[in-house]
Amino acid sequence: MVWLTWRQHRVQLLVAAAFVVVVGVLLFVHASRTGTLVAPSEPDSVRRRNLLDSQFGQVGRFLLFSAALPALIGLFWGTPLLAREYERGTHLLAWTQSVPRQAWLGVKLAGLGAAVTAAGLVFGFAIYAWAGEFAPTRSAGRLANQELFVSTGIVPAAWWLFAFAVGVAAGAVFRKLLTAMAVTLGVFFAVYIGVFNTDARLHYATPVHVEETAPADRGEPLLINTRSGVEDRLPGGALMAATGWLDRGGVPLSNAETWSCASTSDYLACMRDKGYRWFAEYHPADRYWRFQLTEAGALLVAALALGAVAWRRS
């Protein structure tokens, strides 16, 4: 069975392995080049930040495409697993040998699932290590930068496995390769974009709430306006959940109230004179692993459920 799994899926396995290795090597080279360009001992300066920012951007702009990887796994690993057998009638051949159908499916699901997970983990930790080189830059926060969050650590592996399971289940239910592929793409992107668009990640934990202690606090402002860098006073790399103003009773302001000082020259002073206090809700950077485990766990449960669907339908 192991031989058969390898023989039937070796192209996918080799392409994925080659891809992960190439990405790993490129990132390693890029990270070490960055290391020589920007000496770690160098004090935090604009030059250093600019350099790191531009170095980060060289690779960072491709991070968006990492969303395509699980989709490709679903298309090329997941859907053909059963749909191609059904389409060609070879399931009749495979399932009438001495190896029972459950063993056939079990080895394929477990073997390929493990391979997908392993490839995803290598990919995730290659980017994790690479991103570590850019820690001082704001864009390199592994939690705050959502594109980094989904392409580092264990979450990529979870998404790859999830997409694989979507593909297998779609193949088991629809039995036609193209139909299963269309369904796989639809389901995967609906979930993926859904997680981004609904800000689901902000609810993985209760955010930390901070606010200005007293309206009269005129010293160094605890927080300054977003545009001029609110986060500077917040812990670095935090994932912002909400920011805004509270009135004296601690109730968030309405839009009209928030804009009531917009025409004054000193917005902050005006707001404080009215007794409003600035507040922010955020997830500190050290919640990265907790969030990773939450998302990976949810995806793993979904993948197992989809695996069960495939199991029952075949």
Partner: protein
């Protein structure tokens, strides 16, 4: 002939029309909020390549090459060719419909149809060109490789390379304008930003103020006599760029897909 085509491809046609209608409803309901979803527009033609293009020839060739002896190969070639032509037309019209939808949305919400990569490729006439390109790319890959899965892989790879190359080179379709001090107005396509040194030469990173903090940097550099320079394509070049990109895509379609499709149709199947 038209009926046969419709009967064979109605699932794809209906799915495409259905998705376009769904998108239109979403654009109307979501309004401004649709921007995030529209960010995925550049990938849309790829779906046409995957579900319309690649299966067209790959499936025919993958199935029954040895089971059925096609004795009327000339008829078959003509049949395939007219199918290719007919579906190209449908795909192009659908792509143009998407372009119209996005253009309408852009006008209604005053979005940046030029500076925004996704909106530029998804609006106007170039949307139709991208769809046609993806369709013929998929067909060519299917005809060349004769098997569906490899054809899909090739389609995806070539399309992404093409998309990346096009997005990178878009700013160079014409000589950009230069703006000193003033940031170009909204609706333009920015291509580069540099500093004009007091000596008159342009530099990317002025060799001054290296120790300034984030908040004081800009003021420091300006105090040192540097002025911002911006290169951009003005908003009224939108249509010129649309037609340029359309032309490039059509040329690529003819150069890339044309010979393969032609060869496949000539080769005995």
């Amino acid at each position: 002939m038209v009926w046969v085509m419709w009967r064979q491809h109605r699932a794809q046609v209906l799915a495409t029309v259905g998705l376009l209608l769904l998108l239109e409803v979403y654009l109307l309901v979501a309004g401004q909020d649709a921007a995030v979803v529209l960010g995925w527009l550049p990938i849309a033609p790829l779906l046409i390549g995957i579900f319309w293009g690649a299966p067209l020839l790959a499936r025919e060739l993958e199935r029954g090459t040895h089971r059925l002896a096609w004795t009327q190969s000339v008829t078959r070639q003509r049949w395939l060719l007219s199918k290719l032509g007919g579906l190209s037309l449908v795909v192009t019209v659908a792509g143009l419909a998407l372009g119209l939808m996005v253009s309408t949305w852009v006008t209604a919400h005053d979005a940046d149809r030029f500076g925004d990569t996704a909106l530029f490729g998804g609006s106007g006439v170039v949307a139709g060109a991208w769809w046609l390109f993806a369709f013929l790319l998929g067909s060519a890959a299917g005809g060349l490789l004769r098997r569906l899965l490899p054809a899909l892989a090739l389609t995806i790879v070539v399309f992404l390379v093409m998309l990346f190359a096009m997005v990178q080179s878009r700013g160079n379709f014409a000589e950009p304008l230069r703006s000193l001090d003033d940031y170009p107005a909204a609706g333009t396509l920015g291509t580069a930003a540099t500093w004009l040194a007091p000596s008159g030469e342009e530099v990317d990173t002025p060799p001054v103020c290296l120790d300034a903090s984030r908040l004081t940097y800009l003021g420091c550099v300006e105090d040192a006599g540097y002025r911002s320079v911006y290169y951009y394509q003005p908003a009224d070049r939108y249509w010129r760029f649309q037609w340029t990109e359309t032309g490039i895509l059509l040329l690529c379609t003819v150069l890339l897909a044309g010979p393969v499709v032609y060869r496949v149709l000539r080769r005995p199947v």
